[in-house]
Every structure is written in C-alpha cells, then in structure tokens.
Point group: C2
Chain length 555, copies 2
C-alpha cells in the first residue's frame, strides 16, 4: 500500500527566525532517503536562556535516521544557517555540500572544533547537479546580503522543489551574482511542484532596495566627515564592507578592519575569489600613528554585542584607538529586534564621548537582504509553483506569506517546526507531527531546553537563593543549630534584623518542635525547612526565594 512520497519536515526555522534546519525526503513512508538543508543557530538572551552560548535545533529525529541521510546542504554562510555545523556534524556524519565561499566558512567551523573540513564538498552552481539517491540537487545563485547565497533546486520523482534559502531580488548586489530572472524562468519552465520560500520581510510593503543604492550615499557621508570615522555592519555582508572601505579610501582615509569576524570574512571571500578588489588595509598599530582625519575603522558588533569592537570602542580605548569629540560612527546596519537596548547603550556611550552617531533611520545607509512582500509575489509569479510553503519566519510571517500565495490561487500551508508535509499532491498535506525542540550549547555541553537547568537559573535570578544546612547526629537529633547562606537577597528586611539570623531562628524553632518522624525523613524535613525559610523571607523581604536544603547525617 505504501507508495513513495515526497516529504518536507522543518526541524528549525519555521515558526521562528533562526536555527534553520529543513529535511526533505523521498521514498516509502518511514524509509525515505533524506537530505538536510542548513544547520543553523539562534542566539540566546537573558530572558529565556541566561548563560547559554548558542541555541540549535534538536535534530534527534534526524540523528535516529542518519543512515537514511545522504547529504547536508548549506545555502549560505549566515550563522542561522551554518552556525551549528561544527556542533552537530559528528551526530550526522554525512557529507556537507555548499558553494565555495560557504564551504570555506563551513570548513572553518569544523576546524574551530578540531574536526576535519574534508567532509565539506564545494559544488558549482546551477546547472551543475549532484545526485543523492532519489534526489538531483543543484544550487542556484540567489542575491542576498552575503556572497554566494544559493537556492536549492531539488528534483525528485514527485517533481521539482525550489528551496529559496535567504534571498532578495537584487539586480546589482555588488558582490556575487545578481538575481537572475532568466535563469529562474528556465528553472520554472517545466513546472515547479513546491516553492519553499523565505518569509522574513513579508510585512515590508514596498519593493526591496538594491545594495547598489548605498555606495553613493555612504561615500558622500564619509567624505563630509571630519575626525576619525568608523562604521559597523554585518561582517558577512562583504559587499557592504567593501563599499565602506572604498568610501573611506575615496575620502583619503586608510582603512582598518577591527574584529575577528571582519578579518575572517574578508579573508574567506578573498581566498575563494568572491572578492578580488578589496582596498588595501592598514594594521591597527599603523593607524595609531596617523592623523585622525586619515583613518577609517570598519568594526564588528553592529548588534551591540558586548565583546565586539564597536562596543569596546564605545566604552573606551580599544587596541590603542579611542574615539573622541568630533569623530563619526556609522551604523550601516539595522538593529535586529531584541537588540535595541544594547545598540542604544552604545549610541549613548558614543554620545557621551562627543562622537556623532549616524544610524540607518534615514534609509540611506542600509538595505535589507530579504525579499519584501511585493518581491515575494513577483517570485511566486515567476516560479508558478503548485504549492508555496513559507519558511524562515515567525508564525505571523508564515501566516501572511501563506495568505499572499493563496490570494493568487497557489496552495499553501502554515508549516511550523515538526509538521511533516507530503508535497507530492496538488496541495500540501500534513502527514505527521514530529517532536522537535531546542538544544542549548552551555559551556561545552549540549543540554535540552526542557531539562530544567535553565529554568532553575532563571528562578534563582528572579527569586534569589537560600541554602539551609542542617546536621543530624546518629539519633537523628539536630547537632547544633541550622544555618543559612543567601545569594542574591537583601541582608536586612522589614524588621531591620539580619534576614539570615531570622531565618535561622525560625528554622531552629521548627527543628526543636519537629517530631522524630519528620527528622528521620529527608524529604519531609527538606520540605518543611523550605517552607519555613520561605515564610520568613516572605514576611521580611516580600519574596519567596528558591531554597536548597542540605541535610547531613552523622551516621
């Protein structure tokens, strides 16, 4: 009965923006041959993931089926698409395919973790094709805010699937291939079964703008600036970095690249031939001896990252360089939602130093890398797919994108992480719900989002902690009095006496009155001591802290 089917299963990236990981499969149900598209990360925040280093999709489903997995494709080098390659490769142990620049970055990710980059194969773009079991896969160039972004053209016995990756319709992205409507018409001409499509900017109502609109304005701005000039952007936006460097050069300034990612991206793009004409740069040491008017810094940290070059310059001297009254700092970037406070802090720190900050609010110094609402409609029309599956968006983005498609008579669906679709019919069909989730890289260990470890940290951060120590002798009688230690709580409460002493008193009272049954029973004892301490805290400081009880028995 079980005929072969074409499945799509997002494990990350659908219903969120970040940690992209999409599975395609073809074959009999449960025995499909699989390919994985992208293996990205999401960044933690203090609200939900304090202390976490990186967030990745929980790909347990795929790991259990890794013998069915024939290939991993990485569409482009942004962290939300490539960032987990190093951390999850060992669990999948399957060759990685990408275009040269992306492959170069993937190998660096593996190198960083002491793994061999040999598992990464560089592929040539469309029309070159790789065969993996029932799949023929080709990487079709797409314009985006990083070089060599690629859409995947996946041919299967059930028809052609186009997986866009991240894209915009840029006729002149300055670095890398422009959006090519002729190529896409060619790809679409025999029919596309399903278009799995970037939804990031679906709410932007105007057509997107080209990277090529910026150099004129940026050049003018920098030519008009006195003192030292610095600019930040996403290091991976190599075209922008070059635009900034060229603008500096034209203004008679020597260009300095500050920050590891900036150096790494320029290096990777030069190594792979993506970038052939980057202006000469000088070292930060040389820049220190130059007149301020002759220096242009290009820095990492456009999102306010605390350790990046931008934040360090805002706080004070960084590698011998200090920005001062009359200098100019340009954010050639937008602030990603959630980073507003960090970026504001930096702008205010620059303001305190008298540095003029220019941001993207004028619209002159930044353009987005994603297709806007009208661009998506244009692409739908060009590809004429039977089905549109919105991806790379929060639920609201997927919903709006599905509506756009349906308004044009194209079948669509809101498929979030874990929803397995059969894409073989006239309309997408949900065939299974797969358990998905998140894994956190915490220090060097991967922990599950539901393990309770992070919840415990958050609780202590909100409520503070009391540690109660009680020692019982061989007869289960208290040996001395209980004592308390607190973390993250005020020392003195309403009654102006030390909180610790009041808690110790109340705990001691309790122990004196406690029956043998309670004293013998660790659980009961702990529960009661916790309750007493929390009551005292509540009446003294208006908070119920977390409590750790340590019962030592001298047996």
């Amino acid at each position: 009965m079980s005929t072969e089917r074409l499945i799509y299963l997002p494990l990350g990236g659908a219903g969120e923006i970040g940690m992209n990981a999409y599975v395609y499969g073809y074959g009999k149900p449960g025995r499909e041959r699989l390919i994985l598209v992208d293996l990205g990360v999401t960044f933690p925040d203090m609200d939900t993931t304090p202390g976490v280093n990186l967030i990745m999709a929980d790909i347990s489903w795929l790991i259990e089926r890794k013998d069915q997995l024939d290939a991993i494709y990485i569409t482009h080098g942004h962290e939300d698409h490539i960032g987990a390659v190093g951390h999850l490769y060992a669990d999948l142990d399957t060759p990685i395919y990408a275009r040269a620049f992306t492959a170069n970055l993937a190998r660096r990710k593996l190198d960083d973790l002491g793994l061999s980059g040999d598992v990464v194969e560089t592929v040539s773009p469309w029309p070159e094709v790789q065969e993996h079991g029932p799949f023929k896969v080709s990487v079709a160039p797409m314009s985006h805010s990083i070089p060599e972004s690629g859409a995947l053209v996946i041919d299967t016995p059930a028809g052609r699937v186009v997986h866009t990756g991240d894209f915009k319709l840029d006729p002149n992205p300055l670095v890398g291939e422009p959006f090519d409507p002729v190529m896409w018409a060619e790809i679409a001409k025999d029919g596309v079964q399903a278009l799995v499509c970037d939804s990031t900017n679906v709410f932007s109502p105007k057509p997107g703008r080209s990277e090529s609109e910026l150099p004129g304005e940026i050049t003018k701005m920098i030519a008009g600036a006195s003192g030292m000039v610095a600019a930040t952007t996403f290091a991976s936006n190599v075209a922008r970095v070059r635009t900034l460097a060229e603008a500096g050069q034209r203004a008679g300034r020597s260009v300095v690249l500050l920050g590891r990612a900036m150096l790494r991206m320029v290096e990777a793009s030069t190594e792979t031939g993506v970038l052939t004409d980057f202006p000469p740069v000088v070292s930060v040491e040389d820049a220190q001896n130059m007149p301020r008017d002759n220096v242009m810094l290009i820095t990492t940290g456009s999102q306010g990252e605390r350790r990046a070059a931008t934040a360090q310059l805002a706080r004070g001297k960084y590698r011998g360089i200090e920005m001062k009254e009359g200098d100019t700092f340009l954010f050639s970037s937008k602030t990603i939602p959630g980073n507003e406070k960090e970026v504001s802090r930096i702008i205010n720190q620059f303001s305190e130093r008298g540095v003029e900050v220019v941001d993207d609010s004028s619209g002159l110094y930044h353009v987005s890398g994603h297709a806007n609402g009208p661009d998506l409609e244009q692409f739908h029309t060009l590809i004429k797919p039977k089905i549109v599956v919105p991806m790379h968006g929060e639920h609201r983005h997927l919903r709006r994108h599905a509506k756009l498609a349906e308004a044009k008579g194209i079948a669509s669906v809101i498929a979030v992480n874990g929803m397995m679709l059969d894409l073989g019919g006239d309309a997408p069909n949900v065939v299974e719900y797969v358990e998905t989730g998140r894994k956190y890289l915490d220090g060097s260990i991967k922990i599950g989002a539901m393990d309770g470890i992070i919840r415990d940290r958050i609780r202590i951060a909100l409520n503070g902690l009391v540690v109660i120590t009680v020692i019982l002798d061989e007869d289960d009688e208290p040996l001395g009095e209980p004592w308390c230690d607190v973390r993250g709580l005020p020392e003195v409460g309403e009654s102006k006496a030390a909180l610790i002493e009041l808690m110790e008193e109340d705990l001691n009272q309790f122990l004196m009155r406690a029956g043998a049954k309670t004293l013998r029973d660790d659980d009961k004892l702990e529960e009661n001591l916790r309750r007493v301490a929390r009551q005292t805290a509540m009446s003294e400081i208006g908070k119920k802290p977390e409590v750790t009880v340590i019962v030592s028995r001298m047996r």
Copy 2:
C-alpha cells in the same frame, strides 16, 4: 560672598528615559529652598535587574535635605513621573501638588501602600499660583498622551523657569486642553530665563501628529472587522481608550474593559470630570453571552506584559473569553524599545489562533505623545528662553536637543543626573556633581543598585551555582567527605560521569592532602575548595560556576 542662586539638579530622568525626578532650588549655596518635580519609576528587565519589581531614583541627596524641601509637584500621571510617589513619600514627608486627575492617581498610589492621600493637594491650572518660599509655581496645561499633563511655570528671584514635563503640540488632543500658543506667548512675554524641556522625540524629523487624526481610521478599521474585536493601548491614554470605545459602539459592539489599569484610569478620569462622555460598557460576564460580532474588548498590556489582559488572551482563555480564527486584535500603541520580543511573542500567539493582528506600522492607529524635532524648535521659538536644558532623554537625545537649541543661538548644556546647574546667568553653569543612582524595589525592600545583590543573581543565572558542604571535627579534620549540590548546571559533563561526583572526588582529594594550616583557616579553605570545584567544572562542562562553600566545624 555667597549670593543666592537658582539651581537645577536632575536626580533621575536626565540621561535616560524613566524615573523622572528633578530638583529646583533657590537661595544661598547649600541653603537653597527646594522643590521636587516628579517622582517616577523605571521598569526592570531580565538583563540588568532580574527579579526586581520597580526602579526608582536614589534621592538620598534630597532626603538629607528634606527640611529644605517645600513642595513636590507631579506633572502628570505616567508611571515614569508618578510611580515612586507611594514608595518614596515617607522619606520626604512634604506636600504633593498636582492637577485634579494626576492628584487622584497620586492618592491612589498612596492608598495602595496604606498611606494617607491627604498629603496631595489639587491645584488649579495657570494662571493660579502657589507660593513656596522663594518660588511661585503655576501648572500650565500641556497636551500629552494622558489627561491634564502640566508644565510648571516657576518664578524665582532669578527669573522664570519653564519645566515642560512631557508634552506635544496637539491642537486637538480630544481629552484635556489643546496646546495653547496664546497662553504660552503670554507666559513667555516677559522673558523666560530657562526652558527645561522634554527630549524624547528629538530624533523624529517630521512635525508630530494630533490624537484627532485617529478616530476616523480606527472607526473605519473596526467597522470593517468581523468576529470579535479587541484593541489595546496605554490605559492612561484616556482619549485613545474613548476613541476605541466609540469606534466599537459605532460598529454596533458592546464595549468591555479588560485589565485593572484600564478600569482604574477610566474611573479616575470620570471621577475628576476629565471624561464625561465615555460610552456604556458591559461586564465581561455579559459579553460572554453575546454574539462575537457584537463585542469589542479594550485591554491592558500593549507592551506585552505577561500578566496583562492582552498576553492572557494571546495565551488562551481569559475570564471566559477566547479569541479565535477570524477575530481581530489591534495594537493602538507603539512598542517601547526593549519590549519588542514580548510583543512579537503575543502577535505570534494570536497568529497561531488565526487572529488577525493589526499594529501601528501603517501609522494609522497610533500617534506619539511627545513633541518631535520640529515641534521642539517651534516651542523654543515661542518661549524664547535664555537657556534650554534638555531633559527626559538618553544622552543622545539630550545631545541632539542641546544642538537644536544652540543652532538657534540659545545657550544649552547636556546635564545628566547628578549635574547641578546654576541657571541664573546667561548660560548654564555646572556648579556641583551630586552622587546619584538607582534604588530597586525588590519584593518589599528597597535595595541599592550597587549593593551587589542583583549582580549576584545575574552571575548565578549566567554561570550556575555549586554549593559545597564540608564538616570538620574538633581537631579540624574532615568528618566524612565533602559534598556538592548544584543549581542550574548539567548533571553530566564531557567524561559522561556525574558532575557532582567528579567534583566531590576532586574536593576530597584536595582535603586529604590539605595541611592543618589550610584546614584551620576558613577563608583559605573556602578559597581552595572554590578553585578546585571551578577547575573540575571547567574541564567537565566548560563553565566556571559560582560557588558557595559551607564549612561546618564541630567545635
């Protein structure tokens, strides 16, 4: 030698947006008579103030001089101006003056904390004047996004000061007085020594828009919606709440107010006669039995506050009401920077329920309550002050505002919290730096921002915690082995053995080898145990946790 002087001292609100608290003084240096303008709060966040309830200015300077303090004026009822009245009143014990609506809210703040509202005196607006020592103070109506916002006209022997409070130039704010250029020309005509002025929207390049632009669009939107309609806005924007209610009424819907603040604000504005014509409302119980098409909810929680009505509706049923596919939810509000993630979460939750969300991105359903850049210039021109002191802004706002003034030949200065100015001369003169800071309301206790309590919570949230317990006998020899308890850390590390056991083993090894000198010395012992545990954790889980060491001695 010491002649009398006119001083201005921001204790909060200058160099930040929030917790406004400005002191004016007149008299001989150090012996000035003082008045305080506003006593607001700032809201905590997980990044910097986990677990904190409210943030207030540290007004120790003023408390030490409370015998010099003659009056507290509250310009309007927004939390960043009035929110700390209840919490700090007892420390100042000085009469509070405000217009009727604001006074009503101030009394409620005091009542909430069991204090008497009798200390709040209702004042009539300009030209009525109150005398406080050397000051004559009048409250001049200003249009803002809350009824009865007032600027202060403060006459002193050194000239007239205008303290704007929050304002916009709205010719038709719908509720409360419009901006009155004739009154302001009258106030300005004999010369204004200093204009202390709202800076919030200095970066907005276009003239501000009137509240009266909204009812048409909001009415049209709600008339066109099917299913249940809900809308949220700031409860204190009574004009907006009425606009929403009237739009619902015109669309044949019964209006339900959801959320304590919403009820409280409508109540306060009705009690004080600010609002005389609010449409009839129905109870949430009655609404449950009405057809969905006939119901309009107006809810608190436009900023995504987790416990407010909006967030609860987004999560599921709230007081018997549930929003569904085909319903519409309107954010008639902007998202305050820092709240983007919370608001996004809610929009996505509504999206999952099939609820259509309309936000302010079209510009049709919200206008700001603050004067934009061109409005500020217009007001400077109207008032023609000798000095402009920007307030109510982050450093970058103050800086831009000072530049605006200076560009027109008006003396200005960037005065942040703690900078005491002498405003009596032709230009502002910094005469002293006063120590300022923040106090946190944490549970029921006020703690200092620098007390280390919150820093401790943040450290545990980032790094996790290990509690080490060691018992030593009468001879300072270990009694049994040390043991560990962890909070917020993975159970198992690199070596796949239990982290706790590995730490206990390493700690025991250390204790076995430790000399008598170390074992006798609590500090040394703790320091060493901490180091050992952190080393083990680092090699096992790649993190150095916080450590609490508890040494019990059987002496």
